[in-house]
C-alpha cells in the first residue's frame, strides 16, 4: 500500500512536536501500523523521508520493539500475559484456551484473519492476574472460559468492553490512539478506578482512616461511589 498524503502530514506533525524530530520515530511507527496494519516497507520509507534518515536506520529501530509487526496484523491483537505470576494464577490455561479457539500460535494470525496472538510479558496489572489484552485494552482476572467468550463475541461482531477501558475497536484504531496523533474521545470510558485499585480506600474505610493528602476535603455532594466501611 502507499502512504496517503494525510498520513504523511500526520507523520510530519508528530515529528514537529519534539525539539529533535527523530524523537518522534516510535509514535510515527505506531501511526504507520494504524495506517498499514503493520510496519510496511512503504511506512518505513515514509518515516525515513520525514526524518531524513535511511530506511535501514528506521528498520533497525522498528525491529527492536515487540509492538511493531513485520507482517500484516490480524483485526484484533490478543495478548495473554504468561510471565510468572499471571501464568501461575491461570494465564497458561487462558493462553491454551485462546490458542485453541483462534487456531493460531504465538505471533500468528488466526486463519480467519480476526485474531493476532501474542504471549505477552508483564502488563503492569499483576494485581489483576491473570490478564488478557485485546487491542491492548485490559481484560482483567480472566478465566479460560471468559477469554473464549470474548473471542466468540468479537467473531460475532458484538461490542466487547474492556474491564478497565472502552469497547475494543481493533488493532489499527488502538495503534492510532497510542501514536497520540489525535484524541479518540474515550478517556472517560471505563471506571475511574476499579475495586482492586481502590484497595487502599477500602482498607482505610474499614479502619476509619481518612485522606492523608493534606488538601481540602470535598463537599459531600460532589462525592460519588465512595465505598462503604
Amino acid at each position: 500500500m502507499s502512504i496517503s498524503e494525510q498520513a504523511r502530514a500526520e507523520l510530519a506533525e508528530l515529528a514537529g512536536r519534539y525539539p529533535v524530530a527523530r524523537s518522534a520515530l516510535l509514535p510515527m511507527l505506531h501511526l504507520v501500523q494504524s495506517e498499514e496494519g503493520y510496519v510496511s516497507p512503504e511506512g518505513i520509507a515514509a518515516c525515513a523521508e520525514t526524518l531524513g534518515l535511511s530506511t535501514a536506520e528506521v528498520a533497525a529501530v522498528s525491529t527492536f520493539y515487540t509492538m511493531y509487526k513485520r507482517r500484516p496484523a490480524g483485526k484484533h491483537h490478543v495478548g495473554v500475559c504468561t510471565n510468572t505470576l499471571c501464568a501461575l494464577l491461570g494465564g497458561d490455561a487462558v493462553w491454551e484456551a485462546v490458542r485453541e479457539r483462534a487456531g493460531a500460535d504465538h505471533d500468528e494470525v488466526s486463519p480467519d484473519g480476526l485474531f493476532d496472538l501474542e504471549r505477552i510479558e508483564c502488563q503492569a496489572a499483576c494485581t489483576h492476574a491473570p490478564v488478557m489484552t485485546v487491542d491492548w485494552e485490559f481484560f482483567d482476572r480472566t478465566t479460560p472460559a471468559q477469554a473464549v467468550e470474548v473471542l466468540d463475541r468479537l467473531a460475532a461482531g458484538e461490542e466487547v468492553r474492556s474491564t478497565r477501558g472502552p469497547v475494543v475497536r481493533g488493532f489499527r484504531a488502538a495503534e492510532r490512539t497510542i501514536s497520540g496523533i489525535d484524541d479518540d474521545g474515550l478517556a472517560g470510558d471505563g471506571p475511574n478506578a476499579d475495586d482492586l485499585m481502590l484497595a487502599t480506600l477500602h482498607a482505610a474505610a474499614e479502619r476509619g482512616v481518612g485522606p492523608a493528602d493534606g488538601g481540602p476535603a470535598a463537599p459531600s455532594a460532589a462525592v460519588e461511589g465512595r465505598p462503604q466501611a
Partner: protein
Amino acid sequence: MTLTPVLTAHWDEADSHTIGGYRRHGGYEQVARGFELGPDALIQMVKDSGLRGRGGAGFPTGMKWGFVPQGDGKPHYLVVNADESEPGACKDIPLMLANPHALVEGCILTSYAIRANWAFIYVRGEVPHVHRRLRAAVREAYAAGYLGRNIMGSGFDLELVVHAGAGAYICGEETALLDSLEGRRGQPRLKPPFPAVAGLYASPTVVNNVETIANVPYIVRNGAEWLTQWGTEKSPGFKLMSVSGHVRRPGVYEVALGTTMRQLLEYAGGMRHGGEPKFWLPGGSSVPMLTAEHLDLPLTYEDMAAAGTMLGTATPMVFDDTVSVVKAITRWLDFYKHESCGKCTPCREGTGWIAGTLHRFEAGQGTEAELGMLEELCAQIMGRSFCALGDAAATPFPAALTHFRSEWLAATHTPADQAFDPVAATVLAAGATR
C-alpha cells in the same frame, strides 16, 4: 496506622482523573506556591523531605535534581519514566489512570526547579487507556494555563509531551529510555556520564519515576517535614505497594514505608487459603525472594538490604505452597532472556544459558552438578553488563536455591508439573476467591 491515602485519597470519586476532580482537593494550587518559592528552594525542600526515587533504585530525588549544572547555557530536560514493566510492579499504571494530574503538576514543579522548558513522560506503548487519561490531563492543563508559554504570568515556559514506547522492558532502564526517546533502539549507555550531565540530546536531564514526581505537589503543599512523619530516617514517606498473588484481596495499598509484609497481608485479607506465604518478593522479579520468616521486617530500603534483598519497586508478589519455585524461576528467566537487549555479551548469552538449563530442571531432568553451574553462570553475569538487567537476571536463581534446595534436587528427577499440580496454583482452583 500505616495506611496513608495521599496519591490514592480520592480515587473513589468518579472524576478523580479529571482536572475538576483534582482541583476540588487543592490540585494545581502548588504551581503558584512553587513559583513563589523559586527553583533553589524547591530543590532544597525535596532534599529536606528525604524523598527517594520510587522506580526501584531509591536514589535521593533532591540530590539527583541538584546534580543538574545550573547556568551552563544548555537546555535542561525532565524525563518521567512511565515504562512500568517490572514483573510484579503495577502502581504507576493505576496512578496514571486515576490521578494523572498529580503527575502533571509534579512535572511543572520539577521542571521549574531544574530549569527545564521541556518535559517528556515516556509511557510504555501497551497501555492505550493510560495514554488517553494522561493525554487528556495534559490537554486540560494546557487549556487551564498550567502548561505552555509564560505559565500564570511567571515567565516560565514548559512544553509537556506524552511519549509512547513500543514494547521493550529494557527501556525502563534510564539510559536505554533516553536512547529510545531519541528515536533509537533502546540500549543502555555506559555511565558516567550520568543523565544529569549528559542525558537527552546530550544535555542535562533528570529522569524520575512517575510516583516520585507525583509526590512532589504534596510535599510542596505540606512541607518537607510532613513527609518525614512516615517511614524511617533513611526511608521517609509513603509508598504505593501493589500486592499481588495468592492473597484474598490483591490491590494497590498506599502505606507508610516501614510497614511490614505481615501488615500488608492483613490489609489484603490474608492468604487465600490462610496460613503464610511460601515465598514472596518485596520489589519485583529482579530482587531476591524472601520467605515466611521475613514477614515482620519493615519494608524500607535499609531493612530489605540488610535481609539480602532490595525494596525495589515495593510491589510484593506473594505465592503460596501450591507454587513450584523451579517453574516460577524458569519463567522469570525466560522473561529476562526475551528482554535482554543484546548489547552486552554476559547478559545476552548468559540469560539464554540460564534459561535453557532451568528448562531441564522444570522438566525434571536437571543434575546436581548443574546447580553449581547455574550458580557460577549467575556469578559471571552479575556486575558484568552495562545496566542492571544482567544483574536482575542473575538474581532470582541463587536466592531460590538458598531457600528451596530440596526442591531443586527433586527437579533432577520429577517434572515441576508433577510435583505441583498447575491447576492448584491458579485462582480458578477450588477455594480460590475471585
